[in-house]
């Protein structure tokens, strides 16, 4: 089945928020952001801006009728700053004008005086200054302090992980319409219509049922619109309330980059203890998460970092600790993987260092410690159906890992100007929202009298194919053609209290809810058929290809006739059902529980070539064996794997969020913030799905696919390290990302360069070598 939106997308007919015909009197919102990253607001005077041509209203915190607060978990995030500002571009006021240009022009007339204070952008510095959010978290297994005694080899190190901008190609946007009474309707590019509804109701001081949020589709989300779509919708809503006119807000790309949160950068310390034979005995890690200026979703993100801190390795004695550090950056937020990738990177770095200390190939150490059934995760859940060894071994055989190793060694022996490297990256990712209560969904199915079907769920279509999956699930379960099924927009008046489309769980939750709703309708229809066809209790009725079958034999009842007869017999042809993932729980105090319904496994082989003169590199091949259970829709699932990989590769290599010491984002346009283009992707990319792998929990035995593939991208870092080490010999380089060509160059030649710089009178290191300073020395 093709992507449901394929015809619309290719004809340019797909309607995103601002594509619908503008309603009469539409106003445009422009947001005034703080010119400094940290300071005390002395004066904010918008009088002159109000007089500007085309300006209808200007909103400041004083005009907010409800709560000036949008923090989803902690109430620490004002919608509009008041006394203090905590990041550069933090919204202080919003102009509503007849055109976007008039609105933006009026921003210049806002008179704002702020006493600037020093800004902190580094999480360790923030921690040292006592700037933490919520409480630190810790998970333990066994007795790590005692375990160091029995280790033959202990390595320690640090990691410095960069953030990542979502670069959803469609920036944040929303439209709001004031309706009769206090009611308000919104279209929003949000992954979480319910969160947006809650936020809007909160700032307007209205009950939830007055706010309708409708979402047709998103031009990408990746987590960046899970919670951070809401403020922009709230600005549109407030404008509509203030002026009585519809309001649209579309962030420009540079505004979006400057004002919205990213993947959390982390700093981490690790300590790994191994036996001589290469068994992991003990592991300790401390994670300093750069949360930005407020909590947002930082705590659950940190939880997942700790949950995935062992990736797919058996670690008997473990202690992982983490803390959210408050810095003067936009509040960092959900991004595909949700903290998991950072936790997994650190254990991979530790194994890299440990393997070097043991003199053992890294992949031998990895392979030896893969989890098997019965092993414990740091959160106390046991692996029930580990596919870590299966995906590793089958992947290594299928893609000939040994030959890759030989190819790389042969190349390196022969070539001086370029070096190759390779790495295996196994993954294990837990599926479910770590906040247990979010693992629920509702679906509403209507069968119309002509046999056509409409289905609403809480799943938001953002390209991942949820609509196509839901249509396929409904069609299959009712026994009708997919073209008979229309998937409705995601709307808070049809589905209440929905969870965000996130945590890779959208199909699991909403697909199962839709399945239950179809079962309800089918049960009623089956009862009718039993009566009409005078069936006995042991006869089985089914619908296949719109044909009613009894004990597998065709009858003269079609789907259309069945629906018609049901209508005249006054049988309800609609159903709303609710799904809640069974048997999951987590106790935050003890750090133990069963937070995940199941786990996704896989392994990737990555091979790279580094030009040792220039530091540039190519990713030659990535070969993935991925555990998908039984694919629901191969092409959609494949697209998720490839797209996730691309983002993971980008995070590790190109995507460089540079903040100045003053908290200003220097890479604030797509010209300076690079994401993978077609040239960057490996020419030889192959994805295979694990065969004979079911999953009783997924709809039709499918496994979630959204997030896990991103973590295959981590392999490129270690493949590059391998190549760099082949050139520079065995030295401990820093585990710092992104490993841009510039950084690679410094790692290849940093020592020599440092010597040259040191030996040159009166000449100072240039800016780039300052930035790369850690790479000039051994860690």
């Amino acid at each position: 089945m093709k992507h449901l939106d394929a015809a619309l997308h290719t004809r340019g007919e797909s309607a995103y928020v601002d594509d619908g015909t503008p309603p009469d009197g539409l106003l445009h919102a422009a947001v005034f952001g703080s010119p400094v990253a940290h300071g005390v607001v002395r004066r904010l005077d918008v009088t002159a801006a109000r007089q500007r041509e085309g300006v209808v209203a200007v909103l400041t915190a004083a005009d907010i009728p409800g709560d000036n607060q949008v923090g989803p978990i902690l109430a620490d995030e004002p919608l509009l700053a008041t006394e203090t500002v905590h990041f550069r571009s933090q919204p202080l006021a919003v102009v509503y004008a007849e055109s976007p240009e008039m609105g933006r022009a009026a921003l210049a007339a806002i008179d704002c005086d702020i006493d600037e204070l020093p800004a902190i952008t580094d999480p360790r510095q923030a921690f040292a200054a006592g700037e933490i959010i919520d409480r630190p978290r810790q998970l333990t297994l066994g007795d790590v302090d005692a375990a160091w005694e029995i280790c033959d080899v202990i390595v320690e190190g640090k990691c410095d992980l960069g953030g990542q901008e979502h670069v959803y190609l469609e920036t944040q946007r929303a439209r709001a319409w004031p309706l009769e009474g206090d009611n308000l309707r919104l279209q929003s590019s949000t992954q979480s219509p319910y969160a947006t509804q809650r936020t809007v109701a909160r700032v307007l001081g209205l009950p939830l049922h007055r706010i309708e949020v409708d979402v047709q589709r998103l031009g990408g989300g990746f987590g960046g619109k899970e919670d951070q779509a809401s403020p922009w919708a709230a600005f549109a809503a407030l404008g509509a309330r203030l002026t009585g006119r519809p309001v649209e807000l579309v962030l420009r790309r540079d505004e979006d980059l400057a004002m919205t949160g990213k993947r959390h950068p982390y700093q981490a310390d690790f300590k790994l203890g191994l036996s001589e034979a290469g068994e992991i005995l003990a592991y300790e890690a401390r994670f300093f998460q750069n949360a930005g200026c407020s909590a947002d979703l930082s705590m659950p993100v940190l939880d997942r970092t700790l949950f995935h801190s062992n990736n797919c390795y058996r670690i008997p004695h473990l202690r992982v600790w983490g803390v959210c550090c408050r810095t003067h950056l936009p509040s960092n937020t959900a991004f595909r993987g949700f903290g998991g990738p950072q936790g997994m990177f650190v254990i991979e770095a530790a194994l890299h260092k440990g393997a070097a200390a043991l003199g053992m190939p890294r992949e031998e150490l990895q392979r030896r410690n893969l989890m098997v059934n019965g092993d414990l995760f740091p959160y106390g859940q046991r692996v029930l159906e580990s596919r870590a060894e299966r995906t590793w071994d089958e992947g290594a055989a299928l893609f000939d890992l040994a030959a890759m190793g030989r190819r790389v060694e042969a190349h390196n022996a022969e070539h001086l100007g370029s070096k190759k490297g390779y790495a295996v990256m196994p993954i294990c990712f837990g599926i479910s929202f770590t906040a247990t209560h979010m693992n629920q969904a509702g679906a509403l199915v209507h069968v119309y009298t002509d046999g056509s079907v409409s289905v609403s769920t809480g799943g938001v279509e953002m390209g991942q194919g949820i609509s196509t999956n839901v249509a396929a699930i409904v069609a299959r379960s009712l026994g009708i053609a997919p073209r008979r099924v229309k998937v409705e927009s995601t709307n808070t008046t049809r589905i209440a209290n929905m969870s965000a489309s996130a945590a890779s769980s959208t199909t699991l939750l909403n697909g199962n809810a839709a399945l239950l709703a179809c079962h309800s309708i089918r049960r009623r229809l089956d009862a009718l058929l039993a009566e009409k066809l005078s069936l006995t209790a042991d006869q089985v009725v089914s619908v296949l290809d719109e044909q009613v079958l009894v004990d597998g034999e065709a009858t003269d009842w079609t789907w259309n006739r069945l629906v018609q007869e049901a209508y005249f017999a006054r049988v309800a042809l609609s159903a709303h059902e609710h799904f809640a993932t069974p048997n999951i729980w987590f106790d935050a105090v003890s750090g133990k529980g069963r937070p995940f319904a199941y786990h996704v496994f896989g392994s990737a082989l990555t091979e790279v070539t580094v030009d040792v003169l220039r530091g540039t590199y190519t990713i030659d091949r990535v070969k993935i064996l991925h555990d998908l259970g039984r694919p629901l829709n191969r092409s959609i699932d494949l697209g998720q794997v490839e797209g996730g990989l691309a983002q993971g590769l980008g995070w590790m290599t190109l995507e460089d969020l540079r903040y100045g010491d003053d908290g200003r984002l220097e890479s604030h346009a797509l010209a300076t913030y690079k994401v993978p283009d077609v040239y960057f992707m490996p020419e030889d990319l192959e994805v295979r799905f694990l065969e004979n792998a079911g999953n009783p929990l997924g709809p039709f035995h499918n496994k979630a696919v959204g997030e896990p593939p991103l973590m295959y991208g981590i392999g490129v870092f270690f493949a590059l390290r391998h190549a760099i080490e082949a050139y520079v010999g065995e030295v401990s380089l820093p585990y710092a990302t992104p490993l841009t060509p510039e950084r690679v160059l410094m790692q290849l030649h940093g020592r020599r360069l440092a010597d040259i710089v040191a030996g040159t009178d009166g000449q100072e290191a240039d800016a780039s070598s300052q930035d790369e300073e850690p790479s000039l020395t051994t860690a």
Binding site: T10, G12, E101, L169, A646
Partner: protein, 179 residues
């Protein structure tokens, strides 16, 4: 920056998807905004606003250009084609067919830009090399797909063009059905 003084508006006449339009526009109005807002052709998307992502690509006298880098007044007396002019609902353009058949799209925001960038390429290439295909796609960003299927779509469209099989019947079928 903006001004609405009527005296400051320039009359322009241009052909878009075969239809002649006459409008008065402000001198600094971007062509992308003109197409989206004035002509309500919202299939042309704006992703970066400065010539990097290619989402806003249209054809100007048959050549692929970025409409976010042009002013509307520069299109005076020119012929423009946007994604809306490409194929019809009944008879999709071979590129549209190929993008659909290879699942070369997810959120769809980049899709019109890719298609319009590729129209001139397809006209000139029957059997492009991998390198030529990548070169043709090098100016467009997609954040969702990882590009594999987009490259595949170009291959498929070229193959069908070679075989004179513009509407996707016959050879060139791709996997992707419900398994």
């Amino acid at each position: 920056m903006s001004t609405t003084a009527a005296s400051n508006r320039h009359p322009i006449r241009l052909t878009v998807n075969g239809e002649v339009h006459e409008r008065e526009v402000e001198p600094r109005l971007l062509l992308s905004d003109f197409l989206r807002h004035d002509l309500r052709l919202t299939g042309t998307h704006v992703g970066c606003e400065h010539g990097v992502c290619g989402a806003c690509t249209i054809l100007l006298d048959g050549a692929a250009v970025r409409s976010c880098l042009m002013f509307a007044v520069q299109s005076h007396d020119h012929e423009i084609e946007t994604v809306e002019g490409l194929g019809t609902a009944e008879a999709l353009h071979p590129l549209q067919e190929a993008f659909r058949d290879t699942h070369a799209l997810q959120c769809g925001f980049c899709t019109p830009g890719f298609l319009m960038s590729l129209v001139p390429f397809l006209a000139e290439h029957d059997d492009p090399s991998e390198e030529e295909i990548r070169h043709a796609l090098g100016g467009n960003l997609c954040r969702c797909t990882g590009y594999q299927n987009i490259v595949e779509a170009v291959r498929l469209a070229c193959r069908r063009q070679r075989q004179g099989d513009a509407h996707g019947l016959g050879e060139g079928a791709v996997p992707g059905e419900m398994s």
